[in-house]
Symmetry: D3
Subunit: 312 residues, 6 copies
């Protein structure tokens, strides 16, 4: 049964979900229990599995579960009665891709954005780097381990959203340099491919922990520039700056703050999509009622269904 | 001579500019001097006027000046050699409206946005409140005294930009309630009309200092709701919440943080347009060169002209 | 048995307490348990109730409990052995009002303060607004959901304390405007009536979550002003400013900072009474010993009983 | 002419004021100028003195000045046309004591407070320490070099205000230990006597810079305890804690945070009187008008004269 | 079995460890459980003991335990199957001293440092104060209750490390005054002897909670100065300042910030040794693997064993 | 005359100094003036030059000056009476190198440290990268534009100091990996070579402004690794991490926080040397007296000369 179709007191039988997060806890008694977040392509749900004597679960594993949906502090929680692990070989991974949009649609949008780049060396670089060299990883990587777009395919979905937002800025602010803005939006989070490992599970890589995605994104982009013949230094500088400054503030981990209009706008689009996605995920996890707690935003969110209004 | 046409060492004769900021300083010698920011509809420039024995200047006054453009710490500065005040009666105020877009265009966009509202009571309220009752002030108010859109007409320009940005979010995030988002964007800064005084000069009103625009915006909106017959409380709550939370964080002066998707998005659009406008104003004030200091952003900004690139 | 009479290892039988806070937890095993704060008019105590299979508790409910007092991390905790819910109909709610002072005494003090107001329109407004229109809610509302005065009647008690403190400032600072100070103290937290719901339980109202008590307090006060005939705008501005600025700093959620002597003093009296009340509540919850943890203050508090001193 | 009697455009002749602050600045031309704050017992005023070739001024000096009052950025400023130093020997220092209350009145209040202490060893200590050993310095010390009570006698005035405020808390909070509260209030800032030097001028002492008044206050109090015979350790601890924690937070320079009700209340009274005094000083420095900038509070303050109201 | 010799799945029988931390928790079921940190002189380990009906444990107690090492969230955890308390009388306390270096070695280094002091009165004071009066406590005190050097003997070990680091600064910065630097390093944390109680367990003393070690360190040092004949005030001031400012910032609890080169350097050496020791402790607690969580540092630490490298 | 030999009221004739900082100011009157910091290899001094009609000064220029030393707010200031620019061609630049130690000595220490590296590929890399490829720039670069080591040669001096400090940690903390610590210390600020331009003047490069030295340091180091044959990835990761994390906190501009003991220690050594050097520079700029303001540290510093003490 798809996660989006679950509701309070619903019985779950033989459903296979992917473990997005799992932590083992122990309290009184000999046996411990698992708190998990399970997901499929339609959503995510918290789960608790008691009496789990002799099983070792990790993020990315697939579980076939029986259980029932209960209300835990205003959010739905799947109380697992029994479960067993399922080999990833027998799974169609596409069923566990949570991106709101199909990968083929995202790829088409990516291709279209790259085709709008008019500066020839930049167009070439993006085509080779994003559509060929990197595409397999770019289309599978998550955008985070927890807060937003934390699922296979999340990075590409987030990237396209940020680029959509940036593209819409072009008619509003006339001094925008469109090719730099679009390229910066497409490349801003490319370091996530190297910061995270996302084979079966989503974790930080050793380099991710030691270097961070901001450093690795700029570095990998510059290496791609140097593989081109005479890639213009002006473009390399502008786009590297966008990658390095996209967290917006020194305090948020950017070694430099945005010093161009394009860097400001990519930063704003990035934080907009991160918060919007966090809200939307929190919405899907609500157990119903007008209010729910969003862990990613750290506050209550208001979800009352609007009444019918008189329309014009 | 229009401000946008000034350049280093340019001689200025008999040009009439409006005072956007003025502070009187005194040092060695009997006479003091004025540091000012002068503007017309094409831009703004810092100015210094020495030997100003017996004149009292205030924001909003019009000055007819002679002088010359010099470089002061990387920004252009008009060194005034002589000047006299000009009565506002003899001035075409439109020549001093800095909005990037004509008021008639802004009004048309405002009208179009209101016409897209499908919920009837909300459409009625916006039409009466923004296009009739408030329009004269709404179209003249600045959006700030200093940092961004700090000129006659700035509020409407900022409001339309924020609404443009929000309108573009609609196809990206499917759970948006479009009428609430658009109405929230149009109304978010309405309190600025009451916070600022903008007859001849731009200053804080007594109520602006005592209450702030966030409080007054929500209050005036709710009063408008109550003048309607049976305006739906759900809409009043949602849109008041957008106004109250649009600074995004308690620490930035919002008494509540955004708890709906629409409130998050209006906040993001607001901060995007504020920073983008601050960058663009700073750009116009540069004395040339690749780098300039942006006082509004508090950092260096990078303005190097791109070289010619090979296009596709 | 009254809560103030409980002590370590005391047996509790058939005592009825009100639930001030309750959260349901689950760990190993099929059954969950409740962590609660129970109260009556003499105090509050933490409680734990294990094996609570099939009961749903909420703030405001009344529980008839058996159990025993144990020491949990330096604070007294009632370990419930059995319990059942009691209907609110059968309860004398006054027995669960924690205010340190009887309501009739508080009302008399309120009346006396209002009678000291010499400015006629302000006197009229306070009399009508606080003693008539609002009194029923004003005298029942709590001042918070958790930290201080979080019980029925807490708002009036807190308001009178703040007004007592302010009244005492009058002979100390000669430039105080006494009527404005007293009126501001009486009205500063009036928004709590609308921010909180306190029928059976104490929770945030929808408007409380969306608008906050600072906004609603100023708004309701201004509406009361407008119901008067020609209420002086100067007084409306001064007192609204006190309400809006009484958190003292932008970072604490006030949209404006105190700009009058009276606003500074109401803010100081408010924070003084909040911290003093938090200390006093923490004191009553100690399990004995020289030191206890105050959750509301976030630090250890020192409670050693003084030795006998030689008196003069 | 007394400072409180000055007004815009007033001519000043042969008036002797004390220098509260002085900084020498230099700009174009051979000669520098002084920016000063001048005071007498009725108030303080900013002053500028140009063309000051060959004079060396320091805080505490007395100047006989001619000049005129001008408006400088909304505050009154005395523009000195000529001036000369006057020897302190020829001055009645009482004319330059700014405390709002006569020293004899303050001493009487101090004596009364000490006489209300019922615990004999504490009463003895306060009498000997504050009324005999320390009284000469205690009654002359300022409470700060800049922000509040920054004048001869300021410490005693501030101390009595804080004690007045604390004394008024006693009937409000029943668990207060009155003797400890009053003694803590009287002693909280005693370290200022050692932190500041206030012979002719007010500056930090070497120990003041190296140790701070919080450390020195607690240390000097404990030394006074040890000079008594068997002073109760409980009292020494409680009152030392009040002194050490009276800034309220680690971040404000207190090595420990208030852990007793009396320490919380002395801290609250201290910050109340500091801000109230800063407001009142700023009020006296205004150049008229409804708004003035308070440098001590860092914000605009609202000073509009109230209209006549109908009284009861 | 020594703690450093434990490894995953290792069986523990009849081993006696000291309790460094213990907190009692309760969840579902009648019985509670203890979370503890156990230690001997070779290290520390987390432990959990379920079904602990009727035992009361406190920090400093000795436990004789049976159990097994398990992996709990990447750190080793001893799961206790049975345990009983052992009287401290039967224990050789040296076996539970965690200092990395023998006390005799530390004492020798302390003596050597004191012998290098060339200023006679300072040499005398250090010899009498640290080697005689205080030595017994100085050599037993821990340096903290939790984060670093939180074991018997930790203060002396930390002090010698800080002095080693400072001693090494002398040839690097020529304007250092060596005697003041070394004396400041030796004395900087002397207040810990009074802030902490460390008979059987490590807890804050009443004065520690009320005054803090910074105040008490400076006070006890000054008292030692005053017991000398004519101890130079310059030295008393310099070294007291080092003690008072050694946390480096007002926000970290120092009432004054470092205003001499020696005070800056003692502060830097102190923070260096605190973080290095926290890292090293966290290292010993890892359950193996390349990454572990350091609770003291609040972040992941990287512990991958280096491969073999080709050496020169 | 060397700057270290200047004193109050000293006459300066025909002395050539280098401009370390210069800002042009203008006030009343036609002519502006320059505020400068001038330096030679013995120190730095503030200077003011009035009546500077027609000269354009920039950092790095050499000025031949006449003037006199005056006291300006407690610091020495050279009041220039006349001056003219001197061509850099006629200057022996070594006379303007402020490093406390001769370059030849620093080079020898650098060589010695590199020779102590036992891991062969790391030794080779350091030798080629630091002693050959980069040495010319490495030995000339400043370490900052303003606060510490802001002079030609400052980077090498700072690097050797940091390495000295780190080298001394090795016997103190046994789990240090010495080769990684020393290499990390030598390389931690290598990005400064690219962040700053230091031909004639010291300014930020375009890449320095857009990328920052932390990014560029790690990138250039990794490029050097890749030029080696099979440079061990473990070493590349460890040392890159030291470079990226050497500011210690995300809030200070490091994209990752130190996660190894060696990274913690290089960070601590870096901040120690930065503050010590800032103190020492401030010391040389004092105008005498016991107290001076340190602009780099943002506080008063205490410089009283010690009295003579009795030695042993």
């Amino acid at each position: 049964m798809n996660i989006k179709d679950l509701y309070l007191n619903k019985q779950v039988n033989d459903s296979v979900y992917q473990i997005r997060n799992a932590s083992y806890r122990e309290s009184e008694g000999v046996n411990g229990y698992y708190l998990m977040r399970l997901g499929d392509k339609t959503g995510q749900i918290d789960a608790i599995w008691l009496n789990t004597n002799d099983i070792n679960l990790k993020v990315g594993d697939f579980l076939c579960v029986d259980g029932k949906i209960q209300n835990y502090q205003g959010r739905m929680q799947l109380k697992v009665s029994s479960a067993f692990k399922v080999s990833a070989n027998s799974i169609d991974l596409n069923e566990y891709n949570m991106a709101a949009v199909e990968e083929s649609v995202l790829k088409e949008k990516l291709t279209t954005y790259i085709d709008q780049i008019r500066i020839k060396p930049l167009h070439n670089l993006l085509k080779e780097f994003l559509l060929h060299e990197l595409y397999k990883d770019f289309s599978r990587a998550p955008a985070a381990t927890f807060n937003h777009h934390s699922y296979i395919g999340g990075l590409l979905e987030h990237t396209i959203n940020v680029t959509d937002i940036c593209f819409n800025f072009i008619p509003i602010y006339k001094s925008i340099k469109p090719d730099i803005l679009i390229a910066g939006a497409l490349l801003h989070d490319i370091g996530k491919i190297y910061e995270l490992e996302f084979g079966e599970s989503i974790t930080y890589s050793t380099k991710g922990n030691l270097f961070g995605h901001i450093y690795m994104g700029a570095q990998k982009f510059q290496q791609a520039c140097h593989r081109q013949v005479k890639f213009p230094e002006y473009l390399e500088n502008q786009i590297s700056h966008i990658i390095l400054s996209h967290h917006g503030l020194i305090e948020r981990g950017s070694p430099v703050e945005p010093k161009t209009l394009e860097a400001i706008l990519v930063h704003k689009a990035d934080t907009t999509d991160a918060d919007a996605n966090a809200f939307i995920l929190s919405e899907t996890e609500s157990a119903g009622g007008n209010w729910s707690i969003s862990r990613a935003l750290g506050r209550m969110i208001y979800l009352e269904t609007p009444p019918k209004f008189e329309l014009r």
